[in-house]
């Protein structure tokens, strides 16, 4: 066991001497955390609207004003006909077109039946859904006002009203949602790449043979490789949490110690996985590709960017073996909802079992004899 100390000493020396590696593991992740967190938003504002008003009456203008007054909309232009408006959508400068029919005001007053058209660019399907929702509710609100105005005795607005409260994130702040996730992503990325390249690097340099003729045992070897990266990842995470706290003003609702404890177990899992890849790969290029391959799948499925609940059943089943999915879930529960250990117990034990298994695999897979 005394030997581990010397292995650790050597690994740390090598990491801190690598001038190209240090910025990559310390500075770049922090910069990326800050920059990427600003990119990661689905928030929809400044919808570019083109109005085709074929009526030109106080009512039709009032409807247009309802849109331009909304914080979500930006009037891109008013055009006389649909063809010209559609051309703007084809060009990509309009997101939504509102067409007000001729005799709109008259129809509302006399036939009591009027109609408008709302055309939404739906290439981004989920954004289109939200944009259409905004448009429809503005039009309905306008209609409601008209009714109250014109028939003050009859209508009092909609009888059933809803109040919405957004818990855990009342301002619908994207940072509180994305920053913890991106932090997990970056820490996993660094942990996996560093560990997966490490053993294979010694293979490429030939130093592994020299180690294999020493009485070093498998467990000491794996532990000696794992601990330095574990320390670095935990340090990265801590710095990241500080950035989240002081730059993005995200408060950890739960217990930070619990969060660090779960992270420490998760990192053992990720690093063991990386070392496992490293024992299998023959070249660093291969190790890089294999890690990239798994990481891409794990990230996309993890619920970091898109909700897991919307995935088909098979994809949700797949997430049973996705370490990132467990960890992102636990991470958000602790950071945002203040969940305590009993809330995350199941996920935690799965993660811990997985970590032990993976550590075992990588230890077994490392062979001193060929």
């Amino acid at each position: 066991m005394r030997r581990i100390r010397y292995i650790l000493q050597k690994e740390f020396l090598q990491i801190f001497r690598d001038k190209a590696l240090l910025p990559i593991i310390i500075i770049i992740p922090i910069i990326q955390l800050v920059v990427l967190s600003y990119t990661a938003t689905y928030e929809i504002k400044n919808i570019r609207l083109v109005v085709v008003d074929q009526d030109h009456t106080p009512d039709s203008r009032a409807l247009t004003r309802e849109f331009t007054g909304s914080p979500f909309y930006k009037l891109e232009g008013s055009l006389p006909n649909y063809a010209q408006a559609f051309h703007l959508m084809q060009k990509g400068t309009a997101d939504q077109i509102l067409v007000i029919e001729p005799h709109f005001e008259k129809n509302l007053e006399t036939t009591k039946k009027a109609s408008v058209q709302l055309i939404t660019n739906a290439i981004n399907g989920s954004a289109a859904g939200v944009m259409q929702g905004y448009g429809v509710s503005i039009i309905n609100g306008f209609h409601n006002n008209i009714q109250i105005e014109q028939h003050p005795g009859q209508a009092k607005g909609l009888p059933i009203q809803t109040d919405t409260s957004y818990w855990y994130n009342p301002e619908l702040n994207y940072f509180t949602f994305m920053v913890p996730g991106i932090l997990v992503l970056l820490v996993s990325l660094i942990g996996l790449f560093l560990s997966s390249m490490n053993i294979v690097k010694e293979k490429e340099l030939g130093t592994i043979t020299q180690l294999n003729v020493t009485p070093i045992n498998k467990f000491e070897f794996i532990a000696g490789k794992l601990i330095p990266f574990w320390v670095i990842a935990m340090a990265d995470l801590t710095v990241g949490l500080l950035v989240a706290r002081f730059w993005f003003d995200i408060h950890i609702a739960g217990n930070p110690v619990l969060l660090l404890f779960v992270t420490s177990v998760y990192m053992v899992l990720i690093l063991s996985f990386g070392l496992f890849i490293s024992t299998m790969a023959q070249t660093m290029q291969q190790a890089m590709f294999i890690s990239w391959f798994f990481l891409v799948i794990f990230i996309l499925m993890s619920g970091l960017f898109t909700p897991i609940e919307s995935m088909p059943a098979w994809a949700q089943e797949f997430n049973r073996i996705n370490p990132l999915a467990y960890f992102i879930k636990i991470n958000r529960m602790i950071m945002l909802k203040g969940s305590v250990f009993s809330d995350i117990r199941n996920e935690f034990f799965i993660l811990a079992g997985y970590a032990i298994a993976m550590l075992g695999f990588s230890t077994l897979r490392y062979r001193k004899t060929s």
Binding site: R2, Y6, Q9, K10, Q14, T207, Q210, T214, T369
Partner: protein
């Protein structure tokens, strides 16, 4: 004669259909400098890997320092030193750090590591270079350092796999002086090489070709047998017989 430290009986190693080591049988005495000669691909490295427990033999019996290597590869590793043709010290660590690391791996105490490092640096006249990065040290010196590192735990046997590849004759000379010193202290030296002049330095040599032992004796005896004045001719004659 003296006590045997390496005993190999009927060692066979196959890679698929290719036979790399074909029924090798030989012994090495304690304190001996034993040369393992052969052209590239003759099976030298394969054999040395088996002797050091890096590779498992297909069949045969291998005892090193009283340990059955194929059964207990880990036990034998405490008793041997090894240096490889691409001497595997870490380029991004200093000379002293390399000593410390390998000393630690072999379970030496702090005081022992310090004492051994000092001893080797003094012997190599490299006291001033202890804190230099290995990558800034010339090739020939690196090889001498690698040899010292492989000796740090005073192993009973040291295996050298083509230790002098690619260095100038003077450095090679100095390197062999180190080998003699180790042998004088009672360390057995098992060395592979394809430099025939180096073969003359060995007490006994074993010439390998196509995985088989073609000759095994003292250089003097071999030269007599083949009726030549140097080992190079012995080797060439053997090679011709093969063809």
């Amino acid at each position: 004669m003296s006590e045997k430290i390496i005993e190999v009986k009927d060692l066979v190693k196959k890679f698929g259909n290719f036979v790399a080591n074909d029924h090798l049988t030989f012994d090495v005495n304690r304190g001996e400098i034993f040369g393992f000669l052969g052209a590239n691909g003759a099976g030298k490295t394969t054999a040395i890997k088996i002797l050091t427990g890096l590779s498992k033999p297909t069949s045969g019996d291998v005892q090193v320092a009283g340990v059955n290597v194929s059964k207990y590869p880990e036990r034998v590793k405490k008793k041997i030193g090894y240096m490889n043709q691409s001497f595997s010290l870490y380029d991004d660590m200093t000379v002293r750090e390399n000593f410390r690391f390998y000393g630690g791996i072999y379970g030496l105490s702090k005081a022992e590591i310090k004492e051994r490092t000092k001893h080797f640096l003094t012997k190599l006249n490299m006291e001033a270079y202890g804190n230099r990065m290995l990558k800034s040290i010339p090739l020939g010196w690196k090889q001498k350092l690698a040899f010292s590192v492989a000796n740090i735990h005073n192993p009973g046997v040291i295996f050298l796999d083509e230790p002098t590849g690619g260095v100038d004759p003077i450095t090679r000379r100095q390197f062999w002086e180190l080998i003699y010193e180790a042998a004088d202290r009672g360390t057995t030296v098992f060395v592979t090489t394809h430099y025939m002049d180096e073969a003359e330095y060995c007490e006994r040599v074993c010439i390998l070709s196509e995985g088989k032992i073609k000759a095994l004796d003292t250089p003097v005896k071999l030269k007599q047998d083949f009726n030549t004045t140097n080992m190079n001719d012995v080797f060439l004659k053997l090679a011709r017989n093969v063809e």
